[in-house]
């Protein structure tokens, strides 16, 4: 008989344990419900007033908003977190909203893109705010589970770089608030250009690399005279980002306005053929981006064959300065990126990010208050920019004097006006979008095949295009 009792007891224990776990507060976003309910009730009237009072309210809103409380958890990566911390904006926010506690959890972008969708799907475990790069933004918006921010962001629609809203929008509603943009420029090593006997001041360099054909000639000279690789373009593990920048510059992309897949269009093929020329002529380094080898080659001394140029977005300047190549201060310059055809716009975008607020957040008001304070507010954006070189998407910020200051890292060249000029010219392109991760994966594989000599450009792109068509159902 005691056997029976023991058994029953164990079953009871097991069941209790299971029940307890169901109630266990295992999630991280715990905000006392009562507090937010109270503030939500008083918040509502204030919210509907703001749009009516337009522009001045944008910079003054924090002073008028009622006091909020609770905890706001943000997921973002280290570089972004450092930017917010070093600029002091989080402390400023604390002064305006002392009742709101901000907690940042650092994740790599890759981890965010894994965890956030899972949390959205599960309906639990998501933060109050997450930072998302524009490349993945559309996909997450399309997934669902994000708060509709249309009402909140309407006053900012014409204040931000226009192209930033495309990825945040779905069926006429907006689900994200832009932070920064990534206008693409041409970084180059003045010392390498000097050693190759080429003019090294920015205007001359801009002219010298006006088109990719011109760029090709410059690279040949550099290789001949100094042995330096022109830029790095790994073959077997290529990510395809340089290719994307080339497409963006032409207003092209992986698909077109009509929603048709253009991966194997004649223009896309021609663009990859151009990139291939550099491989064939051995003008590139095989270091993969974002590896220690790559950093080492960027930071190398003049006589150690550093990488001579880098077509990348404005945020790269901050990385070079801050931790990739601080020892090369004064050796870099910034020019305009090359175009495929003469006379085209010399601008493209790579990266840029935005804040999203998951629907399951229990502290949406506070989350938006923080978001607006950081990115809708000129002072905050300028402070962040000072600390990080992340170019604000908020165009009003460009009026600040810091944008015309010379930068010692770039040999006292005032580089920021270049970023601003470029960002205003960025064409509408069709690189990002709800299917970006998938498309980019297929095209990257195609580029890898071309780089390793496995396939011709046309065949590789056609194969990728067909696979994308089959998988996504796009024509």
């Amino acid at each position: 008989m005691s056997s029976q009792n023991i058994f029953k007891l164990m079953v009871a224990i097991l069941l209790t344990a299971i029940l307890l776990s169901a109630c266990a507060p295992a999630t991280s976003t715990e905000s006392p419900p009562a507090a937010t309910e109270g503030s939500a009730a008083t918040e509502a009237p204030a919210m509907t007033e703001v749009p009516a009072t337009e522009a001045p309210a944008a910079t003054e809103a924090p002073a008028e908003a009622s006091q909020l409380s609770g905890k706001v958890t943000i997921w973002m990566w280290k570089a972004a977190h450092d930017a917010l911390t070093n600029s002091g904006v989080l402390d400023e926010f604390k002064k305006v909203q002392p009742g709101v506690e901000v907690e940042v959890v650092e994740y790599n972008p890759a981890d965010v893109y894994q965890k956030l969708p899972l949390a959205l799907q599960a309906g639990t475990g998501a933060p109050d705010i997450s930072l998302v790069e524009n490349s993945h933004l559309a996909q997450i918006v399309a997934l669902g589970g994000l708060t509709d921010m249309t009402e909140w962001v309407t006053p900012y629609l014409d204040k931000m770089n226009a192209y930033k809203w495309a990825d945040a929008e779905l069926d006429g509603k907006y689900y994200a608030m832009p932070w920064d943009s990534g206008p693409v420029v041409f970084y180059y090593r003045r010392d390498v250009f000097d050693a190759a006997g080429l003019p090294s001041d920015p205007d001359a360099v801009s002219e010298a690399v006006a088109t990719w054909d011109d760029y090709f000639n410059v690279c040949q000279t550099i290789m001949e005279k100094t042995g330096s690789a022109c830029f790095s373009n790994n073959k077997a593990n290529n990510y395809g980002r340089l290719y994307e920048m080339m497409l963006w510059q032409q207003g092209l992309g992986y698909y077109n306005e009509a929603g048709e897949v253009t991966v194997d269009s004649p223009e896309n093929i021609a663009t990859l053929e151009m990139l291939k020329k550099f491989w064939d002529a051995n003008l590139t380094s095989d270091q993969l981006e974002w590896t220690d080898g790559w950093y080492a080659e960027l930071a190398a001394e003049t006589d150690a064959k550093p990488i001579a140029t880098l077509v990348e977005a404005a945020w790269m300047g901050a990385f070079l300065k801050g931790w990739i190549a601080p020892g090369t201060e004064g050796k870099w310059g910034v020019a305009l990126m090359p175009t495929m055809e003469e006379g085209q716009v010399r601008a493209a975008n790579d990266g840029g990010s935005a804040f999203v607020i998951p629907e399951q957040s229990e502290n949406k008001e506070a989350a938006w208050a923080l978001t607006e304070f950081l990115f809708g507010n000129v002072d905050s954006q300028v402070a962040i920019f000072k600390a990080s070189d992340f170019l604000p998407s908020l165009e009003e910020a460009y009026a600040d004097p810091i944008f015309s200051e010379p930068d010692p890292f770039f040999a006292d060249q005032p580089v920021r006006p270049i970023y601003v000029d470029v960002v205003k010219e960025v064409p509408i392109a069709y690189v990002y979008g709800p299917n970006y991760p998938e498309m980019s994966g297929f095209v990257a594989t195609a580029i890898q095949k071309v780089g390793t000599g496995q396939s011709s450009v046309e065949d590789a792109l056609k194969e990728a295009a067909d696979a994308i068509r089959a998988q996504t159902g796009m024509p």
Partner: protein, 310 residues
Amino acid sequence: MAETSVMKRPNLPMVTKLRKKWTEIYKARWPYLFISPFYILFLIFGVYPILFSFYLSFTEWKGLGPIKFVGLRNFELLLKDKIFWQSMTNGVILFFMYVPILTFLALVLAVILNSKRVRGFRFFRTLLFIPYIMNIVAAGFTFRLLLDQKYGLVNVLLGMFHIPPVPWLESIWGGRVSLCLLVIWAWLGYNMVIMLAGLQTIPGELTEAALIDGASPIQAFFYITIPLMRPVILFSVVLSTMGSFNLFSEIYNLTGGGPINATLTPVIVIFDQAFGNFRLGYASAMSYLYFLILFVLTLLQFRYFGRQVD
């Protein structure tokens, strides 16, 4: 006696049969209770998911929002999916690349250690076994660093012997070789231990007798040891075969499936489709097809090798 046994043979009515069965079952309630946790858990976390997965494979779903029924479309797409079939091919290629070496090396090392010829049996066995307890994330990442083409320790050491840098992770076959190196590194100790145990069931006198009769050690190895070790070798090979298709953590942390999809396995493709592209319906269809293929393969293996062992 004959009459009674004949008389005892009429067909019992159904009810009596059922009652007998039920009594039997009731008498056996304890073993049923004891084995029930497994079946209950499996019902919840095995059978139900398998059935649900089956249902999902005919739908399109992002994990959020409505589930859309699409009939056989997923399977149609699957048959044309180059990435999936590439991953199956990779499984076969990887199998031939590392299973023979792994099995043979494990066997040879086991034989050596077992021969009592070597001092420090325990010491070597421990050393060879350590990779098994190492965390695969750490191991994969460490290998990635060691095999870096320009800055990795391996190429640096090879450079000292004037060997040009090997594109470990920069070429298709390099990627596969690197993966096999990692897998062999991780599983050699484990398989060797299995072989050691098997060797201990072989009576020493057999080999002794053969050697006295003039056979060389190599001959003894091939004609006595290996045939007697057949079941154990089979066990090891079957484990490794399942492994070669199911590799996940090793690949995820070393090559990510590249270069150029050279080291993708079906599990990684399914994982990507489900958790990267949010195509849950398609991922389910894929896992089903994969399961069927694997099931058939395993059946074939047992049938073929089963006959051989007899």
